[in-house]
Amino acid sequence: MARFLVLFLFYFASFCLSAQSEDFSSIDFTEADKLAKQNRGASLDDMPELVYNLTNSLETDAERFRAIYLWVCNNVKNDYGLYAKNKRKRKRFKDDSLKLEAWNEKFKKKIFSTLLRRRRTICTGYAYLVKTLSQLANIDCKIINGFGKPSSGNPEDLEEPNHSWNAVNLNGKWYLCDPTWASGIQDSESGRFKFSYNNGLFLVTPQLFAISHFPIEPKWFLMDKTPSFNDFVNAPILYNDAYKLLSNHIGPNRLYNEIEVNSSLEISYTLKPKINAEDVSLTIVDGSSSTTKLPDNVEQNGNSIDISYKFKRKGFYDVHLQINGFLVATYVVRVKKEKSLN
């Protein structure tokens, strides 16, 4: 009896410890994922019923949240037309708070009717829907507004909040996820959205999340030591696939790096799954030429990986790191002449 109780308590206590998605490695999400799939295409007209169908047979809040989150990611499309229109207007009214508020009010209505009728939306719609459906399942979930740093455009151009995601409380602990970016990828030229679920954005390590997400309220970093906005703007570019492969990005912590000729760019990550060292490659763009190289050294120790590449010529390089053909991160390297020894 006592042994059973110890196990029982351990089971509960194990939720309160350690980090993020690993907290739930003992939970099997198969059933939750199956329910999300079974309800594919369901309408949003009756949300309580949808929530009931998604969560009723599940045991834990983690599974219930999973079913809701996955359903939203796989059933709501990102609407490029809405996105472009909102971006344009918000930019135009950014110095006129009254006009901005009026636009926001008007657009909010449009967002919700488009979401309900056509299941198409933009970030806030995703975050709002995850929140609303979670609340219907009695799960405490919040919308977090802030800055998202996508790979297109320049980080320095981030002037005002542009992105919304979610924080969810499971077993007394807060977790972060981004249903918009997990849902799929937008072709910014054709404007077509393609569903392609990215599980890496479900319950993300806060340190990794903070490289591309800067909440307006610092407490939603869920970190003791929070980065400054400057740190955020100057951080490397991280791609969506990075969330699948990494559990943390250790260094370099800046996008722009300066090194001398014959010294190396050193990159360190904590990996989720193990990978083969030979699957790491670097695409180095220098002016008009682009070459793909293997790193000089890849060292793996447990889950950590250190990658180094030596630059033999001075110049200005965009370095794109790939693992298994997936684009992970970009660093910019200015290679200077070696200083003389005296």
């Binding site: 949300m47 309580p48 926001n104 909010k108 919308i143 992105h163 002016g287």
Partner: protein
């Protein structure tokens, strides 16, 4: 002295665990079960500052039964309710409201208020980043 405390601990541990176990058991066994008496038929109307709301989800907390408001904001709850039941009103873009049913609440008139949210959007693509310097080339 050292001996004594260690004995105390080994004895106390299973007892503590036992009482914690009982506590969890109690939670499982004495889950609130609602009695079905004093049947009350509930109908009403839902609106916001500008008029009736069409399509508000109205459901009984903790159950699957519910309904949706009509274009004129009116609704008739399909099941008889009892005092103490909680009806939840939920509508996208509005704050969720809950109404506790008592013997006098056969007609509910509810005004829902909009939720303050900023509509934001950032897209993510798989387009490789181009530094300013490279963009010029």
């Amino acid at each position: 002295m050292i001996m004594k405390t260690s004995i105390l601990h080994t004895n106390a541990l299973p007892k503590q665990l036992f009482s914690i176990g009982l506590f969890f058991l109690a939670i499982l066994v004495f889950n609130p079960v609602q009695a079905q008496n004093n049947a009350i038929s509930v109908n009403g109307v839902v609106k916001d500052a500008n008029g009736p709301l069409d399509g508000v989800s109205i459901y009984l907390k903790g159950s699957k039964s519910g309904t949706v408001s009509k274009a004129n904001g009116s609704f008739a709850f399909p099941e008889k309710l009892s005092a103490g039941d909680v009806l939840i009103f939920s509508y996208l873009g509005y704050k969720k409201e809950s109404v506790v049913i008592d013997k006098d609440s056969s007609f509910i008139e509810l005004t829902m208020s909009e939720e303050a949210i900023d509509v934001l959007s950032a897209l993510n693509t798989n387009v490789p980043y181009k530094s300013k310097r490279q963009s010029r080339n």
